[in-house]
Symmetry: C2
Subunit: 152 residues, 2 copies
DNA sequence: TTTTTTGCAAATACTTTGCATAACG
DNA sequence: CGTTATGCAAAGTATTTGCAAAAAA
């Protein structure tokens, strides 16, 4: 198990290097806050909210502020170093319950439908789903930059 | 095309009946506001926000209030008559970028990971995805009631 | 008529922004 | 040293709640 811990540490190191490399490429400075926030999310398996990340980081850096956490989470998302579960700020609703996918643009927030085409294999529940609870909706979400935003 | 319009109307009628039936089953009253809000979302294909629904409904019912819209959208979700794109209120973050699914409990808001098991077919992009934009993340989202909430 | 729902107003989250100071490269 | 990032405070959105009056069953 000590072995496993070492593996985890190595893995984290690798991700930290990637983080630092991408920061430099983007012209962003590698600050203590960014590193700490990145590590916190990278090591957590509980899909923390901004507030939770803030509380965790504050253990090591009592002076960190919540708005720095928000700012950093957004830039980490933009660098594809973490992903946001669900949407950003406001909720949106869909009355069409037929199985289909959503392409969510992480830049403008627009949501596009993708309906299955003829001959396409149907959705299927992943093996481990049933043991988590009672599934009522399946929704494949693709996140990226939409055509409109790409051409700007 | 008149024919198609008739089909659409019939479809909406069917969904309205289902809506009314489920309201009665849940002991909820079928009010003008609920019916109007349901129809608005059911007929829209733009994944409207609460604010957008509010504006649309206000065309027909100038006195409707935004908080009624919020309340109604939540009860419609609970009745599985519409779905929420993404999560409810607050954003949550995931540092694990390996392909995996999320089981989202619509009652308590908890997010559970489901990792693919050995022998399970891998994720694949749906056919129409590429034409929407540049996909950076794929995330299969299952929505339902988790075990913990079921046993309460 | 009884109970639920609505609209209003106000409160409560959650997230973002402007600006002077601190920290990185 | 020049420039970017941080912390603070305050503002801006999004969503929720308590309560008296209105509407459904």
């Amino acid at each position: 198990m000590n072995f496993q811990l070492n593996e985890q540490k190595e893995e984290l190191q690798k991700r930290l290097s990637r983080f630092e490399k991408q920061c430099r490429e983007k012209g962003l400075r590698v600050t203590r806050q960014r590193r700490e926030i990145f590590c916190t999310v990278a090591q957590s398996s509980e899909h923390p909210s901004a507030e939770k990340v803030f509380q965790a980081v504050r253990q090591k850096m009592p002076n960190v502020s919540l708005d720095t956490v928000y700012r950093t989470l957004s830039s980490l998302e933009e660098m594809d170093l973490l992903m946001r579960v669900g949407l950003s700020s406001k909720a949106r609703f869909d009355g069409d319950l037929r199985p289909h996918c959503h392409f969510v643009c992480t830049r403008c927030g627009e949501v596009y439908d993708i309906f299955p085409q003829a001959g396409e294999p149907p959705f299927s529940l992943p093996y481990g789903a049933a043991e988590k609870g009672e599934v009522k909706q399946i929704n494949l979400q693709l996140r990226g930059i939409c055509k409109k935003c790409c051409s700007r």
